[in-house]
């Protein structure tokens, strides 16, 4: 970290000039054979990688309408070209969403279109070479799949879909990413990303109960594997011990305690994160999601609540019903989904975000707060990308913005917004999402956070902001790591439920 310094702030709005080659390089560490094979990928680059890669691309084109349409539809209008935080932060033209897409589109045109077969130069088509593969590996690991570009594309082209496909092709020929694949292997083996086995988890939670008792004088429980509990809480494993995440977990526990809700964690599915999405592999995405289904069936819970985690909430909200049947509205004949859906209580949304859960209690006047407990903070909200552009909360579109803000305003007195071009559906990624939260990408993470830091700094100067709320474990980890590089206190970032935890008044129910 010491050798990485913060880039200088610029004047907003920023339209950066191009610096070709600024982020050329090898990309993050490549997964070794052990991590590759644990996920069913080849351990090394296979000899026939060229044919395998093209075949895999054809396979994905047939399975994903998004990829199929997005390869054809781009007209190079440039609407997305200044929207990516990695481009704004690094100025490397290959980090413009359209250019990143074209790394694959050029191959698609060469092998899958008439124009590219006969007039490659004319339409920007090229052969798949080893150099192209390396270039893919580097630049498709400079995309956090945050979807900001897709907001602005006139055809809704989502670079995340293309990045996912590229990573899937790379992994399938033996070039997977170490960070993501290692973590996925741990989920399957141990139950969470951190590799925290059940005894250690139980130990940690007991310690937490003691700490909270010391703080509040109350017996606030952090139950594990309680059969018959009403709520199964699925939360990112960082919540169990990382700072500031753990304060959020304490917040959830206090809300459950105050509302008298019986709840439990699961040692088998002690992880909300699903890195299967990051590597673009449907089978892994599904396999990881199925652990939660199994836990829910085994524990017989009525509700599934998801903690503060961005991509986990996208997967839970948008994909769980498809992948594992956690949701509602399955066909009568759909035995796989019905098995679980019959068990769940459909007076509530399945799954429920912890913010929806808390906001619902607030609306029913079931929680009491002392707002002044948060008076030392001037709070702003960093909308986490996956929550903002890949999910919803509540009944209305945009609930994912309103509900967390409503909670903050209920538990604290000082709330201000950052530049409207960088919040809600236009929010920037923190710079560490999409499987890039690894130390071997530190330079990218620092530069990718620059756009957010510039806007935050503006809010700090104008309003004296000293707390940036985020509802994502990756945002929290990324910001607490890189904010010191920009001269901010690492404690400036925290969860929404950390604020809830500060202000909640706990009676003796």
């Amino acid at each position: 970290m010491a050798d990485i310094t913060a880039p200088a702030y610029r004047t907003i709005p920023i339209i950066p000039a191009l610096k070709p080659g600024a982020m050329e390089g090898k990309g993050p560490f490549i997964a070794n054979d052990k991590h590759q094979e644990a996920l069913g990928f080849p351990g090394q680059l296979v000899d026939d990688w060229h044919d395998k890669a093209i075949a895999k691309m054809g396979d994905l084109l047939g399975k994903f309408r998004s990829l199929r349409v997005y390869m054809d539809a781009c007209v190079h209008c440039g609407a997305c070209s200044d929207k990516c935080h990695y481009f704004i932060g690094t100025q490397d033209p290959k980090n413009m969403p359209v250019a990143r897409q074209d790394l694959m589109r050029s191959i698609y045109r060469r092998y899958f279109t008439l124009a590219g077969k006969f007039f490659p130069k004319l339409v920007g088509a090229r052969d798949l070479t080893r150099e192209v593969l390396d270039e893919w590996y580097n630049y498709y690991h400079q995309c956090s799949e945050c979807r900001r570009c897709s907001v602005f594309c006139p055809y809704g082209i989502d670079t995340a879909e293309i990045t996912m496909a590229a990573r899937e092709i790379l992994a399938s020929v033996g070039m997977g990413q170490k960070y993501s694949n290692e973590i996925i292997a741990k989920v399957h083996k141990i139950g969470n990303n951190l590799g925290l086995p059940e005894p250690a988890l139980v130990d940690t939670l007991e310690g937490l109960e003691e700490d909270v008792k010391e703080d509040t004088g109350l017996d606030i429980k952090f139950p594990v594997d309680v059969k018959g509990a009403e709520v199964l809480l699925i939360t990112p494993s960082a919540d169990f011990f990382a700072e500031p995440h753990i304060d959020g977990l304490i917040g959830y526990a206090k809300v459950f305690h105050a509302s008298g809700t019986s709840w439990t964690l699961s040692s088998m599915a002690s992880e909300g994160a699903n890195f299967g999405m990051f590597i673009g592999n449907y089978e892994q995405l599904r396999k990881i999601a199925l652990r939660i289904r199994e836990a829910a069936l085994e524990l017989g819970v009525k509700r599934i609540v998801v903690g503060e985690c961005g991509h986990a909430w996208r997967v839970a909200y948008s994909f769980w019903n498809t992948l594992s049947g956690v949701g509602d509205g399955a066909d009568e004949t759909d035995r796989f989904a019905q098995m679980l859906q019959k068990q769940l209580d459909h007076r509530y949304k399945q799954p429920t975000h912890i913010c929806e859960f808390t906001w619902d209690l607030i609306q029913r006047d079931a929680l009491k707060f002392d707002k002044s407990k948060n008076d030392q903070f001037v709070i702003t909200m960093h909308d986490s990308c996956n929550v903002a552009r890949g999910s919803r909360m509540g009944d209305l579109p945009g609930g994912q913005f309103e509900i967390p803000r409503n909670i903050i305003k209920t538990v604290a007195n000082n709330f201000v917004e950052m530049d409207a071009n960088t919040t809600r559906e236009r929010t920037f990624c923190c710079g560490g999402g999409g499987g890039l939260l690894t130390d071997d990408l530190m330079e990218l993470r620092v530069k990718g956070a620059l756009p957010r830091m510039e806007v935050l700094n503006q809010a700090v100067q104008e309003h004296g902001v000293n707390y940036m709320a985020a509802i994502c474990a990756i945002c929290k980890t990324q910001f607490s790591k890189i904010m010191p590089v920009y001269g901010f206190d690492r404690k400036m970032v925290g969860g929404v439920h950390q604020l809830v935890s500060n202000a909640i008044i706990l009676g003796d129910k």
Binding site: L18, Y155, W320
Partner: protein, 241 residues
């Protein structure tokens, strides 16, 4: 020449129709296994219809992205629509009332279309980011459209072509009767490039036109918790278990 252009006309139309339909059917047949609307997204089908309508009619997302590109792009597309509709008069007899009505607008739309195209090309040539992402074909498409527009406008305002002859020829072609096409250089150029455009449509980035309707980030309803969305190939994974 009349026979050659008749063949080109039939060929281009055939490639356009068959190519476009096969592409559309490919898009329609390819499953979208996951719910990926860019949120906030409409929660009902009617809402999706409105979203797509705003996208197609007003270029809503492009408006959010960049005002200049939006203004030039919208001007070009709206003008092109008027111009195309105006040209229906060469294929219908008697001319439909509303086609006759838009005739004067259609003519001036030719000029605004050219303005839009030139604006887009200036952007492509002089904005560094857009120049970087442009392929030769991106420039050529603009050149092609500009030449079509200019040749059309020249026939309208400078060197009049025999429109009655042109109309008789195309009405003939519609009933597979090849008459005589007026031998006018501008006309032949205009027609040849339009045929080229039609034939290349289904093989090129012009597929953005049908593509936008099939874009899952735009055409999906935001209701994943309320309805289970399952594609055929993903469903098979469940029965294998």
């Amino acid at each position: 020449m009349s026979v050659l252009f008749a063949i080109l006309f039939y060929l281009a139309t055939l490639v356009f129709v068959v190519g476009l339909l096969s592409r559309i059917s490919l898009y329609a047949r390819t499953p979208a296994p996951l719910k990926i609307p860019t949120t906030p997204a409409p929660t009902t089908k009617t809402g999706v219809v409105f979203r797509l309508t705003r996208e197609v009619v007003f270029f809503e997302s492009l408006f959010k992205a960049n005002l200049w590109t939006w203004a030039m792009g919208w001007l070009f597309h709206a003008s092109l629509l008027l111009v195309t509709l105006r040209h229906l008069r060469y294929f219908t007899d008697p001319v439909w009332g509303w086609v006759a009505f838009i005739q004067p607008f259609g003519i001036y739309a030719g000029i605004t279309m050219l303005l839009g195209l030139c604006g887009l090309w200036v952007r492509r040539l002089f904005v560094e980011r857009i120049r970087y992402i442009s392929t030769p074909s991106d420039h050529l498409w603009l050149v092609l459209l500009i030449v079509i527009a200019v040749s059309g406008l020249l026939m309208q305002f400078v060197s009049h072509t025999d429109v009655v002859g042109v109309k008789t020829y195309f009405l003939g072609l519609l009933s597979f009767d090849i008459g005589t096409l007026p031998a006018d250089g501008l006309l032949l150029l205009h027609l040849f490039l339009v045929f080229a455009l039609l034939a290349l449509f289904p093989l090129s980035k012009l597929l953005h036109a049908p593509g936008v309707f099939f874009s899952p980030t735009r055409n999906q309803t935001d209701n994943p918790r309320e309805h289970r969305h399952l594609s055929a190939w993903a469903g098979k994974l469940e029965s294998e278990k």
